[in-house]
Amino acid sequence: MNRWLPFEWIAALRFLAEGRMQTVFILGGVTIGVGVIVFMSAMLAGLQANFIRRVLTSQPQIQLLPREEAARPLRAVRGVIEAAVVQRPTQRILSIDQWQAIAAAVRARPDVLVVAPTVAGSALAVRGDASRSISVVGMDPAQYFRIVRVPDYLVAGEARLGTDDIVVGSELARNLGAGVGDRINVTTARGGQRTLTVTGIVDFGNKGANERSTYVALRTAQSLLDLVGGATTIDVTVADIYAADVIARDIAGMAPVKADSWITTNAQFFTAVRAQQTSNTLIRLFVGLSVAFGIAAVLVVSVIQRSKDIGILRAMGASRGRILRIFLVQGGVLGFAGSVLGSVLGAGSLFLWHRWFRQADGSELFPLVLTADLFAAAAMLAALTGVLAALAPAVRAASIDPVDAIRG
């Protein structure tokens, strides 16, 4: 008999060992429960990280735009409107007023990581007989590529942007029959016209984006869109992506710009992420509850089966507190042992799932996110759940009257 273990642990472990079948079944139940929690948590963390990475590496987290142009009602005198119907004005491509000062002010904020002014507009790409409407984004690659990781999506060439260079989407390149080193003509409605050399081709994994996206140097876009010295948007990334909404409102309050956060512009995606988190929490809660009820049920039966043992231990001088602790220890041991086995089961299943189930192109479906924190949290929570689940049976055991137990 282990001389280091206290009486409560000796009794608890022996009771568990003797009730072999019950112990194996409930341990199996706890193992599966914890395994499901570990598997789901790690998988959803990976999927979520992957989604967010994909969404946030292809767009800025906050975009600052010029305020929309609004038509003023025509008033003859104060309080009298001449024309009651006000037509919505067209939204011209305008530069943000004082964009350098605004960009500097935003860059100075501690919660902002990168600020990249851009000039964006639409144009027509022509090569031979083929022409396609395109979206032109002009920017400073040193800043902008830290926000939208264009080089990560390169499938040909390089993300080099000189004054006469252009990086195009893969579908656009295919439609124009252009490869790296080929030239295309780009013209805009304002009369801008440039012949640019394709230096890189990117694939964003989205047909629409690949058909229209093009990237040029800031000065090139300024000249094409007749906005010399201007910037139509200022793209921003922040340290805490979930605080983007608050920061956007803050910036809109301090500068004459409209600030859109990724949370607003991707409202559906963000809702999906939140819904996923909520459903994950609910699933974990209900699995945890079913594990707790399983442990409690087994221990209640154990208390009934062992009432005579409890009676004789009480007659020997074991206090109510000690009897209580015997069953709390059993609950904790079941929870902890189940969490260790469940962690192995969950992590093993996730590893196999990650290895066998791939995307069509062979790349991983989601990154494998298995952290020590997850296992430590699972072990602690399961042990705590076990102890709490054992509370009712333990109180019942402690309240057994030795006379009744021995007589009965």
Binding site: M1, N2, R3, W4, L5, P6, F7, I10, A11, R14, F15, A17, E18, K308, D309, G311, I312, L313, R314, A315, M316, G317, A318, S319, R320, R322, P402, V403, I406, R407
Partner: protein
């Protein structure tokens, strides 16, 4: 050998059940009893006479409705649950009609159990003490057997050894031979008697077996919750030696 002072004194002990209800029943009607240290006392009486209730009260498993109980010099009247539990653990050993050994443990571990409960942890000295006690019961060979693998007589001898683990001055035995055949019953009784003689441990033996009772130092008969006159010639006095 212990001193011959009184190990147990009961004064006007009464016990009622269902107090304050229409079915209130008094089962012990003022028991007065004094037991000297080293006595081997038999308590006899018909079924339902209150013998087991009396033994539960003496064993601090139950409380008297009124009266006074002194065990080994300690008046138990005002003791709380914790103090009663401690006093019970260190002063009284129990042997029941059914052995009530814990099946999760071996014979040796069952005998060690009162010591582990008392001190909180196991240690090698406890194992040595348990082996010695099993030796007295001629059970050395069976010490590592699970108790379910022992015969009824062996199980009851392990229960006697367990009752003696903390060397209590008082052992309460409630029909310890009731479930045993004659030979096994004799084996258990003879060993208890030997412990009584050699160690001076006081035994209170509740039994229906008059032949065994007559071999005790003294017989106390309980009838209808009262102590009847002790049968003539039954008082042999405490064992000397």
């Amino acid at each position: 050998m212990r001193s011959v002072a009184e190990i147990l004194v009961l004064e006007a002990v009464r016990k009622s059940y269902g107090i304050g209800t229409p079915v209130e029943t008094e089962v012990l009607h003022g028991i007065d009893l004094a037991v000297r240290a080293g006595e081997f006392l038999a308590i006899i009486g018909p079924s339902g006479s209150g013998k087991s209730t009396l033994l539960n009260i003496i064993g601090l498993l139950d409380r008297p409705t009124s009266g006074r109980l002194v065990i080994d010099g300690t008046d138990t009247t005002g003791l709380g649950d914790g103090d009663r539990t401690r006093l019970r653990g260190r002063t009284i050993g129990f042997v029941f009609q059914h052995h009530y050994l814990i099946s999760a443990f071996t014979a040796l571990e069952n005998v060690m159990m009162p010591m582990i409960v008392d001190r909180g942890r196991a240690d090698p000295a406890m194992a040595r003490r348990a082996e010695e006690l099993l030796g007295w019961m001629d059970l050395e060979r069976w010490r590592n057997n699970r108790v379910n693998n022992l015969s009824g007589g062996q199980q009851q001898r392990v229960a006697v050894a367990r009752a003696l683990a903390l060397d209590p001055p008082l052992v309460l035995a409630d029909e310890p031979t009731g479930n045993l055949d004659t030979a096994a019953a004799e084996g258990v009784f003879a060993r208890m008697r030997r412990i009584n003689r050699e160690r001076g441990t006081t035994f209170l033996l509740v039994t229906h077996n008059l032949a065994l009772a007559e071999r005790c130092d003294r017989i106390v008969e309980v009838v209808d919750g009262r102590i009847a006159a002790e049968p003539a010639g039954a008082h042999a006095g405490p064992a000397a030696g």
